[in-house]
Subunit: 718 residues, 2 copies
Amino acid sequence: MTQAVVDTVSETEATRLEPLFAPHSIAVVGASRTPGSVGNAILSNLVFGGFTGVIYPVNPKAKSILGNRCVPSVAAIDDHVDLGVIIVPAVHVQGVVAAFAEKGTRHFIVISAGFKEVGGDGVKREQDLKALADERGLTIVGPNCLGIINTAPTVAMNATFGRGMPEAGPFGLISQSGALCTALLDYAKGVGIGFSRFVSFGNKVAVSENDLLLALAADPLTKAILMYVEELSHGQAFIETCHKITHGSNPKPIIAIKTGRTQEGAAAAASHTGSLAGRDEVYDAVLAQAGVRRVDSVKELFDCAEVFVDPMLPQGRRTAVVTNAGGPGIMATDACIRSGMSLARFQEYTLKSLRYQLPPTSSLKNPVDVIGDAKHDRYRAALDAVSSDEGVDQVLVIVTPQTMTDVTAIADVIREAKSFCGKPIVGCLMGLVDVSAGVQLLRKHGVPAYAFPEDAMRAMAAKCRFAEWTRQASLSYKHFDVDRDAVARLLDEELAAGRSTLVELKALEVFRHYGFPIVPYALADSAEAAARAAVQIGFPVVLKISGPKILHKTDVGGVRLGLNDEGAVRAAFEEMVGTVRQKMGADVEVWGVLVQKMLPKGKEVILGMSRDPRMGPLLMFGLGGIYTEALKDVSFRLAPIRENVALEMTMNIRAHRLLRGFRGEPAADMPAIADCLLRLSQLVTEHERIKELDINPLIVFAAGQGAMVADARVILAP
Amino acid sequence: MTQAVVDTVSETEATRLEPLFAPHSIAVVGASRTPGSVGNAILSNLVFGGFTGVIYPVNPKAKSILGNRCVPSVAAIDDHVDLGVIIVPAVHVQGVVAAFAEKGTRHFIVISAGFKEVGGDGVKREQDLKALADERGLTIVGPNCLGIINTAPTVAMNATFGRGMPEAGPFGLISQSGALCTALLDYAKGVGIGFSRFVSFGNKVAVSENDLLLALAADPLTKAILMYVEELSHGQAFIETCHKITHGSNPKPIIAIKTGRTQEGAAAAASHTGSLAGRDEVYDAVLAQAGVRRVDSVKELFDCAEVFVDPMLPQGRRTAVVTNAGGPGIMATDACIRSGMSLARFQEYTLKSLRYQLPPTSSLKNPVDVIGDAKHDRYRAALDAVSSDEGVDQVLVIVTPQTMTDVTAIADVIREAKSFCGKPIVGCLMGLVDVSAGVQLLRKHGVPAYAFPEDAMRAMAAKCRFAEWTRQASLSYKHFDVDRDAVARLLDEELAAGRSTLVELKALEVFRHYGFPIVPYALADSAEAAARAAVQIGFPVVLKISGPKILHKTDVGGVRLGLNDEGAVRAAFEEMVGTVRQKMGADVEVWGVLVQKMLPKGKEVILGMSRDPRMGPLLMFGLGGIYTEALKDVSFRLAPIRENVALEMTMNIRAHRLLRGFRGEPAADMPAIADCLLRLSQLVTEHERIKELDINPLIVFAAGQGAMVADARVILAP
């Protein structure tokens, strides 16, 4: 999908799915009287969950189930059905959906398994279902899923076969794994986490994660979106969807567990980029570009979400800590610095106020230690002082349950401070049992609450980063005026000639058409022509043999460096052609010799692209030589990239300070690299036949002096 | 403390503290009738915790407290008191301890605050208390602590002012922060974690963390030792203590939260090593050398400990996973690979057995997916098959609570499998509420239980590493035959002459006395002598000016490279001396010119040392140039180091593959580097006046061809 298509996702797209979440009438096909069966569990969840609409159990053999009068068939329902929930065996699903479609029902949850995931006939069944959906414009969640929950009191729909209704709460969750959903629901019940909407989306036959993300974004009760995903349907569409959700006047954070981190790229790759781009690097790049927080565990998922029960975003990273114990204060400080936040330095008036109100043994410096015997009044004094300090962006309040500690009263002070101070305040009520009333109080009033300071601080850091992301000017895609057709023709010719790996000469041509700065070069077919070209280009020059089959020039004696006059060039030409013919056979096709300017010293960097079959073109950036090959110190992003992403790529390698003028060397020309990355992005977006490429090296000169492509290879999809 | 001292820690040391944990009689001085007071809370905990010995509340004003008859003073107790618990104001503590000592009591817990931690008089009070302890051979935990708990049923002692008695369990915990203890106890109560022994050790006046670690190691009810520490008392003693505990016939794991990760080293440092060695690098090195698992959060602490409720260690890293859902299986796989474990490949007989017993839609490859409708019999079949596979070292069993899932019955199958299979098995019962009975069943039978697969797998990986650590041959400290006295004299002379930074010539001499391979060199005081020396050394040579104040030789024109004959050496000598005198003044003291062999190409590495005021000499290793300076890619260990640690240091940098023959280059001579590190370890251990040093570079040649010190500096403590 190109950018143009992505941008057409409209506001109506977000509400198109609403009947899935807020139907007035539901028909459950496969509803069953047998306790323990899926068909019974779903009906039971709908009934006892308090669904506010009308339920039609479809079962030809039963008169009623759980008190609800059954209808014998879909056709027999004498009402419009907003949502069909289907639990019948896989082979019957297609017929049931078709019957509903006849009646005008457009929205479905297909719980039944036995489709793509079982292989064989199941794949065909899924294709048929998709065809039906496309043809009739149906919205189908599943198949092979747990169902959908909407806890909004006006709906109160639990259309899943999970165990019971979760509490209402601020989190929307979508998950590709149904089983994980059951576990998450059970865990959430135990720790008191509530959900707004909950979707197990299964095989994604006709509703993708992107559709669901938009639906959750549009839901006013959802403050943070959580997702578990095993594979994304389309990289760039996902990036654009998330970009939209995480920006604008009401940005919502998205936190994701993406599994399959360690799977290796399937195919052996011919380029550096290809060999370095494992599947997981693709996803890291996509999630970073999308502004999605990637976490590794369910604990982290919920910890990170918790901080968003308060939608207020911090204005900066300066964090104040108030605590009644030193150790947890140190833990908070550690986590603060480690996660890239800073400890606020208090203004003089704050210190004065603290000094005046706290006992002399208190520590006034951040973290403020109000001492173990502090009661709620002392917390109030400290909180008032630090939260009104103009150098403080957010506050963490730590309470350890000591002998004198009135945890719930202190929680109420935190709530009170939160209500008027205009900055994010987070509570850390340490422990679990004695502090639980305080935790409930905080959550109820939209104050995030944690058991341990390191978890709280990590989440606060995630919120800071989200705040920065939402404020970041969303730069556009730069469009360069290039000779797109010339490249298309060149690729045609090469493919027609059966050459899927472009030799240097052809590769340089491709990049020249896209306006890359190329080292000056000319193709010479005789010693005399080479000498003339060298004079025109200027000495010193490099000679490189060029021919359609000569891929490894150095191995056959086809490269000569540092030639300083015409005589040397003539001699090198003759000798080189001779050597190459000797090594590769007298009949090897030689186009001539590439005469190139020998460049002055600069920093060598590598730019590359490897096309991921599902996600699209993945751009790579790294320093040349061992940095890329041995240290694997490279950064990836999915093309097309926005302007700021190009610079970001150059920053995201460990060795980036080597480009910024280390040890008295001049800084490298970073904008020149960014410009090349943006051109590369356009090139690979406009030519899908390019499978992989490397510019290796791009020589980068000092700031303001540009960069030059010195060598390159391009590999086409045959 | 030197190695010899450390090795004298005897078995009796471990039991010396037993009266702290299992006293027959306790006197509580400062016991109070006032509910909510510390003096009341401790007595109440002792009484209601079910202490099996006799309690003497000491209170001159009350007849009894909580039914226990009071005594008016320490002297009035007509019985031997094993343990004195002291809660009186700080100023009275000294007197109370002295009174006990008169009666023959040797063990104390001083709860009272108001010592070192408040500064001022408190510091003096603590010194006095320490003096008394030393003089009378007293064992004192605290002051400024929460107290001690021993849940062993034969003792049942809760001598803390925490809220209630924790459950008995397999974990021993020591903590420097009392407040954190209260939070940990409360959290543990909530999630059902039990403790064997629990110590809040406060200011460590006369009992260090090392003493307590040994006491926990000696306790048969403690299976894993947890610690929270803000600073360690002595690096090498800690390493030796932990080394002992984590090796031998009954090794116990130690898991630590060490805060203060982000504090920077206090003093500005003159060497590379000094500037790179922040406080936290010291602790990372010490904890790694000690075999202690460092974690960042309380959650990780408990997660990692949980896996040791089963003391059986895995024989290798090959892990099998059995699950009833695909998603969690992928999460487990990810965590498995990411934490350095491997997924077991099943033998043919295992696959056959699985194929025969599981339904056809099951996935037989590891992870084994027994499918969502699996009941306990199917789990039993799968577990029997994979746990008896000879290619499997450990098994993770994942259970998601689906409609058909009989969680508790499956938990019982896991327990049963664990009881006969002879390999570690870990349960992951996903969720919290519905699975809780299963979790309790597993824990009760010594099977670790987790809520999520990523947490389980990380802990299993930690256990694998611990198993490898315990199996690792514990190599000795190598002692080289060196000229220690010559170095001592040289350092004496330099310090006497007021020079705390040794110039290259002197530094090279130091290393020569310790048997380092040094680039051949000679000091010449005339052009003629230089030429003669060059002939003897062999061309090409390097000349470097040498004088007591000439520290930056290159800046004053004092270095000349690549001199190929006698004439060039003579000319360079004259010119160099002239230039240096011109730049530094005619009267600058010049000892002469250092004539050095110009070395053939090799890998440049840096060896260094920076002495941490508290922890001792910290060795550093890194590659030369930008790797160390810009990329900060270095490894640290505390000297003295064992033989295997030297090689480990060379492996622990990101760029280590550059030393192992990358891109067809020959591998570097690693044993030669290790040899230099071991000599360095001996040098800095034997000469405490060396404050910092760098060998920069050590040129390392191809395997078997050695290494040579090319330049070095040594900084002395004035």
